[in-house]
Amino acid sequence: MAKRGGGPTSTEIDMTPMIDMTFQLITFFMFVMNFSEAEQDDRIQLPSSQLAKPAEGVIEKPITLQLMNTGDVIYAGERVAVRDIAARLEREKSVMLDEGLEPSAATVIVRADGRAKTGEVQDIIRICQEKGFERFALRAQYDDRR
């Protein structure tokens, strides 16, 4: 900026507060960023529960099946009908058997929409049972309201 009546002078802007703030923002975003590959789909509106506290440990061999309110299942990012998940689970089972693991060692995470029919959830569980899976985790959204 040129001062009136004087020659051009260099004005130095103090960048320190801006850099401080920017680094703090980066730190914040790094902390809140979720690096885990949590399979969460926005199309599913989970039912909420006060007792559905997040698991502390890591679920061994998770298989996530997401049931939409339309009755379709989202499996590995793909939308399939309930009757078609048997073939997918058969593949999961054969992969586990190749690794020397029984299907009972896997946990089937059922992320079902709160508006879905209970019978469809039970159908999914029955298909899983027929393939030898017996551990289920019915997922709900943690509701911290008292």
Binding site: I19, G114, T118, L138, Q141
Partner: protein, 160 residues
């Protein structure tokens, strides 16, 4: 920085532009990839297919508590019953469960041995099942979860 052999102090100006560029790019990346994840939890259920057939009469075994959830025409909850007795709502269901198994939830307690069998209509909204599981499996006291019944199973689905 003082130059050797001279008493003059020169101000060394660091060019901050590349660093600020990178910092802003990093910030933009984090802002764009940020996905707000709501906390989720699980109700663990162990349900082998042969459980119903393998259930043998056992002196230690407590008869299961049968919770019936009937659906209305739109999938809404029409009625709740516990062992054939009507229940007004899920809070009453929890009170009945506490009345049945008592407050003791430790090892070998009645709450640990008791199993709840959920008998739901096919078209019932799944949110009601989660409410029923919440009612029978515990309660929150002073921010702490007090567990009740952990063994939960479903009756086979019945298509109307």
């Amino acid at each position: 920085m003082a130059r050797r052999g001279s008493g003059l102090v020169d101000k060394v100006e660091i060019n901050m532009t590349p660093m600020i560029d990178v910092v802003f790019q990093l910030m933009s990346f984090f802002m764009c990839t940020l996905k707000v994840v709501s906390p989720e939890g699980d109700f663990d259920i162990r349900m082998p297919i042969a459980a119903a057939a393998a259930a043998l009469p056992d002196e230690q075994q407590v008869p299961p508590v049968r919770v019936r959830l009937a659906a209305g025409p739109g999938g809404e909850l029409a009625s709740i019953a516990m062992n054939g007795t009507p229940v007004a709502d899920f809070d009453e269901l929890r009170r009945r469960i506490i009345g049945l198994v008592g407050a003791d939830t430790g090892p070998n307690s009645l709450a640990e041995k008791t199993e709840v069998e959920l008998d739901c209509d096919y078209g019932l909204g799944y949110a009601n099942v989660v409410k029923a599981i919440t009612a029978v499996s515990g309660r929150v006291e002073d921010g702490r979860i007090v567990e009740l019944i952990r063994k939960i199973k479903f009756t086979p689905p019945k298509k109307n």
